[in-house]
Assembly symmetry: C2
Homo-oligomer: 210 residues x 2
Amino acid sequence: MIETPRPATRGPYRTGIERRAQLVAIAIEVFGQRGFAGSSLRTLAERADVSHATLIRHFGTKEGLLIAVLQEWERQSAEHDLADVSGLAYLRRLPDIMAGHRRNRGLLELFTTITAEASNPEHRAHAYVVQRYETNLRTFARHLQAAVDAGDVGALSPAQVALEARLLTAALDGIGLQWLLDPNVDMALATRTYLERAIASWRRVARPTA
Amino acid sequence: MIETPRPATRGPYRTGIERRAQLVAIAIEVFGQRGFAGSSLRTLAERADVSHATLIRHFGTKEGLLIAVLQEWERQSAEHDLADVSGLAYLRRLPDIMAGHRRNRGLLELFTTITAEASNPEHRAHAYVVQRYETNLRTFARHLQAAVDAGDVGALSPAQVALEARLLTAALDGIGLQWLLDPNVDMALATRTYLERAIASWRRVARPTA
């Protein structure tokens, strides 16, 4: 359970925004545990100790709540401010970012579960998840291409850059899943081991001849 | 939809075993689409065009059906008979095995979804999934250790062997997930690229001094 402090009375200081954020936090927990498909607004309302009507007022539908939850995931992910780094320096932040998931297991569990469920084209979050992967792959590819252009690694072809972005994404997803299954898994060590080997192999690719 | 040929009449040739196998095939499809948590026996009964009582007679509970489905996954996985190979030869079969998932998308979707859902310790398949990962990690580690012992790669420590088994598992899981999201992903190429780079790096580790 997420511990949400509950005031003795519902005063005017309890704004709608705070309440909404609490409901999103509870939804993250419940979706993470049961998946989106396995969660009902009724379960969420019971867990949050609010009425069904309150949930509807804040989110409209279960899909509206899912979107709010996914936006919260994006917002928390964006807190890893990487705007100041690019190329290999960006990629080398990834072990710390993976280690950071330990502070919010529920969100990683949620994202992993929704992604798997939504791999089915009929799932209501399918388009969102596909879009999110494409964006992520492009981001990794852009930073690797920057490293190629800077001469920090060899002259990987565009196809190689795209494949490396896929493999990196795959490794991160798989490492996160294994940590969810076994909290003793050292996500930072696994990510660093993957990444340093990849960088070493990229560096063995020939530089372009001038 | 899985196309299950339906005889015009239900004669004695339609054995309980055949019927059970058909129900498992439909359950694989439905669990894969909706996850275990999001599937009900009612949905399964409707999709299979059988009564709720028939499902209960064959499987007892939804959990009983899940176990039957997971056993079918194990059975189909075991059809990749790898008993004849070990060490690097075993690991080098993995690209073909990954490519083989294209023939049964539903089962990969099911396994990916159940694994993600069941990463939560309260999920009813949690113990099964944890056990399955441990077995899988041990298998990969055993084959890599065989390669170390045979001198096919350098003298990786037991901790390195264990970490490499994790990274390989992570890459395979992540590659499968990306293919589910985008059928254009070449699972065999991605797996081979990962594996050949890993093998090359293992070979750069010093052999034990005699």
